[in-house]
Amino acid sequence: MNVLAIDASNQVMGVAILKNNEVIGEYVTNIAKNHSVRLMPAIEQLMKEVSLTPDGLDKIVVAKGPGSYTGVRIGLSTAKTMAWALDIPVVGVSSLEVLAHQGRLFEGYICPFFDARRGLVYSGVYQYKNENLELVYEEKNIAMDAVLDLLAKGNKKVLFLSPDLSLHKEKIMDVLGNLAIIPEGPYHIAKPSLLGMAGLNRDADDTHGLTPNYLRLAEAEAKWLKAQKENN
């Protein structure tokens, strides 16, 4: 069973190939360079390296956001189309969950987040229970302050995982003090192999129905809804 994992949802772009539950190839970059140009060549190159042709694929796992709207769509367009064309299952996994998997050995709360500007983040809180990663607080587009307040009440150690850590580190330390655990660099870079593992045994999504996990309405739509409310 050959699984292709694709993550173009944030600045970190990753592709991994798993063969019978083993990671046989992984490609990761963390640079602000166009995913649209680089994703397909990366997939092609990695497939070539591991001597796999497209029709040898059995499943595709894709990071469905949150993250960059455009990046998420690049990943999903690629994954959904490949799955449809090859007639194989596709599974969408939350980009926050992918990061959370990097806290595999941590016993407290795991808080992955992506910065969403103006004090907001995309975040959820996870925890490993009986070998399984479980969602403790649902993923939201939320003020970082609100996330930290919630975590402070839990009075548990919290592992923070985020490529945007530097933007919020000070505040995290202010609010949580030594409850906050912040590991060094590589832990904050989403690994596509963990994405592949996460989707490995998960039921397939409906290929047509799989949609991005934006966690936020388009601005025009949010404004329109607000205006509707005010008019009523």
Partner: protein, 336 residues
């Protein structure tokens, strides 16, 4: 192996998610368009982010429908063509990445297509080209005169310096409080109005085939304002008829001049505004007096679709042009 060239085209440059399959660049085998117009109406125009969101939701559904309708298998398809630009970047990206994934998964050649080349080649689905050929492209985003001396060669001899004709239509429509998209409403009102207001015609310098519609747009806005201040009432029908007459005069006038100067064997009209009844009639009337054949595509091929992209892509493919897996969306792609 047959000698036919069969190309699958993908178009997502604005608010239509479209896939089509075309044989030899001339014959539509299937042509599916999922329009988002209903979803953008409430915003009074296309919202790029919402267009992109719809594309990603619709893409594989439209692909599947186009393939099913064609009753072809992947073995029959020679290449994948996709609009690489110009257009809304986020919208284009969905189509481009879909096309690349498809080309890789099915190991087919990939060809990028210029959206305007697509609009021009929509005509070849009805009528074989004769060169030199002059194309007038009028749409929400474009007003251009393109000279073609052979297949796949495009020389832009005139283009708008400010607004596209379609934009001017939309802005005037908004002034008249007509629903979005305004173009067809102005066309309809104009049929019942009189050209009683003398709006300016922007001919620009002598010999120029460029266009300009921002002055006309301002003139219409001023006229409506001034009338309001003086307590006069202008009939919307008359405003529409007079505005449209100015647009059409310049479009048809410049097209005829260019057709004569370049001694073209064929004039074709392309783009969404080519669906405009007033424009179609004026062009037909004008060229009836000459011996230059004029072709206006059927309405369904005027608006954005993927059959036109497959048709233009067929020429690229036959001429040996190929795009790599690093193909990107280019919102300001130049036609050449």
């Amino acid at each position: 192996m047959s000698n036919d060239t069969i190309v699958l085209g993908i178009e997502t440059s604005c608010d239509e998610t479209a896939v089509a399959i075309v044989k030899n660049g001339k014959e539509i085998i299937s042509n599916v368009v999922a329009s988002q117009i209903e979803s953008h109406k409430r915003f009074g125009g296309v919202v790029p982010e919402i267009a992109s969101r719809h594309h990603v939701e619709q893409m594989t559904v439209v692909l599947e429908e186009a393939l099913e309708q064609s009753r072809l298998s992947w073995d029959d398809i020679d290449a994948i063509a996709v609009t690489e630009g110009p257009g809304l970047v986020g919208a284009l990206l969905v189509g481009v990445n879909t096309a690349k994934a498809l080309a890789f998964a099915k190991q087919k050649p990939l060809v990028g297509v210029h959206h305007i080349a697509g609009h021009i080649y929509a005509n070849r689905l009805e009528q074989e080209f004769k060169f030199p050929l002059l194309a007038l492209i009028v749409s929400g985003g474009h007003t251009e005169l393109v000279l073609m001396r052979e297949h796949g060669s495009y020389e832009v001899i005139g283009e708008t310096r400010d607004d596209a004709a379609g934009e001017a239509y939309d802005k005037v429509a908004r002034m008249l409080k007509l629903p979005y998209p305004g173009g067809p409403h102005i066309d309809r009102l104009a049929q019942n109005g009189e050209e009683s207001i003398d709006f300016p015609r922007a001919w620009l310098e002598d010999g120029s085939y460029d266009f300009s519609f921002s002055g006309l747009k301002s003139a219409v806005i001023n006229k409506i304002h001034n009338a309001k201040q003086r307590g006069e009432t202008l009939k919307d029908e008359d405003i529409a008829a007079s505005f449209q007459a100015s647009v059409i005069d310049v479009l048809t006038g410049k097209t005829l001049l260019a057709a004569e100067e370049y001694q073209v064997k064929q004039v074709i009209v392309a783009g969404g505004v080519a669906a405009n009844k007033g424009l179609r009639k004026a062009l037909v009337d004008k060229f009836a007096k000459t011996n230059i054949p004029l072709y206006v595509p059927p309405l369904k091929l005027c608006t954005d679709n993927a059959a036109m992209i497959a048709a233009a892509g067929t020429i690229n493919y036959q001429q040996g042009k190929r795009s790599g897996s690093d193909l990107n969306a280019n919102p300001s792609l130049v036609l050449q």
